[in-house]
Subunit: 276 residues, 2 copies
């Protein structure tokens, strides 16, 4: 595995990589969710690049940019073990040099849900993904369904800006008790870690209500928020029942739907979703 930290070095080796080239963009603190992306990328491509970059522009002031877990040595040893071809780990000034001021935004979808709670978040995401796609020029890029809205936004900007990358979305990987793997789980205390299972439990309850025949979005949202209220360490940020393509909120579940939520467990904000 080659460790590369500058765009210039990356350019030098890029054209010697065998095609197709798979890309797994990450913010590090690699977990089983990332592993499933990397292994799928390995199985579907002749070469694989994993990027590790904690993108400052997708955090707003007061969010957890400083506290975001940094485990670069253990990350690199995982990537070596997985035999990826290149770990691209640029410093912030390499991606955002002095005077940087060009931004990519998916306008409507970028301001719903996570974008409503975290203004500018998806502008940061869309900009860094566009940059990474342009630098690496992968054939395929791999993202997790856990960040469901992000997946839709990246598909849209890839289509709209003619980036010509094949976007692959992998199912959410969960721990034995259903908690979705997330780099932020590391910040949970043991009590909080146990309390955090309420996110997936409430989504599973929503699925059951739906399968039992109640397709009313409002009632399903109430079921979820009531369940989360029972967990004193949890505070719901939002619950959404939306069209799985456009993220427009639904009143009745009459098409492929994403039920998604965000909640604070103690000081740690977690997200999760299911497709029905």
């Amino acid at each position: 595995m080659e460790y590369i930290s500058t765009i210039a070095e990356l350019n030098k080796v890029r054209n010697n990589l065998h095609s197709p080239l798979g890309l797994v963009p990450t913010m590090g603190a690699l977990h089983h969710g990332h592993l499933s992306l990397i292994r799928r990328a390995k199985s579907e491509n002749a070469s694989v690049i994993v990027t590790i970059f904690i993108n400052p522009t997708q955090f707003k002031e007061g969010e957890d940019y400083q506290a975001y877990p940094k485990l670069i040595e253990s990350d690199l040893s995982i990537l070596r073990k997985e035999k990826v071809d290149i770990a691209f780990v640029p410093p912030v000034a390499e991606m955002y040099p002095h005077g940087f001021d060009s931004w990519v935004e998916v306008q409507k979808m970028g301001h719903l849900l996570e974008g409503a709670s975290r203004s500018q978040h998806f502008k940061g995401v869309a900009t860094i993904v566009t940059k990474i796609f342009n630098i690496i020029r992968p054939n395929k890029a791999y993202f997790g369904q856990k960040d469901g809205q992000q997946a839709l936004i990246i598909k849209q900007l890839n289509r709209d800006l003619n980036l010509c990358v094949d976007i692959v979305i992998n199912p959410t990987v969960r721990e034995h008790d259903g908690l979705a793997y997330s780099s932020r789980n590391i910040n949970l205390s043991l009590t909080e870690r146990n309390a955090a299972t309420i996110l997936f439990k409430s989504l599973e309850k929503a699925r059951k209500v739906f399968l039992d025949g109640d397709h009313n979005a409002k009632r399903i949202k109430i079921v979820v928020s009531e369940l989360i209220k029972c967990q004193p360490l949890a505070k719901l940020d939002y619950i959404s029942v939306a069209d799985a393509q456009t993220l427009q909120e639904l009143t009745e579940i009459d098409r492929p739907t994403m039920i998604s939520l965000a909640a604070f467990i103690g000081n740690t904000r977690l997200i999760d979703n299911i497709l029905i």
Copy 2:
């Protein structure tokens, strides 16, 4: 010359073109300014693509999108004569399909000067240029210094978003009496056409004042606006004396500077600039 109107067709032939590939993006109604770009592109590249696309998103409501000159047959005959390899002439729905909503913006510079007078203008420009670069993947792209702010914005987004295109800016081409070639000149009546020479005359006067030793931006702006006031058919929109790289307004001309202006001649809005 091949005439191509869809991205799918373009993709089919793109990789058979010899490198380097030069791109001249235009809105058609080709004039001597475009010709100088095309001929330079021909002389510096093994293949040349010219795009003709009147980009609706860079016009705001009430501007001259509908009235923008359309001369596609004569444009194509010019391109054939110049022996460009491909004329790419996509319809609007090819570039902005239903649901399109991803936008590129150069934030600070995009809201100065033309961006202050024409809100959203450079967002439309930056978005379509990013798309065209991604579709065509040229080695070099050619733009005119006549649209001086646009040239700076395209250089910045190309750098910031790692588009990796070599941006070439060609000097403004002028008629015998100094009027910069522009597709919009076609909309001028004969009287207006003669009145329009006041733009370059006033810029030349500004240069003379500077060369005679007065480096004060405010006084130079007054000289220009007084001169334009003498032409009853002309109405100044703005006059700027700004850093030629950042477009920050200057109080003293103490570095490479762009003096630029916009003015209505009758109902037609024209722009021009000089570098000093």
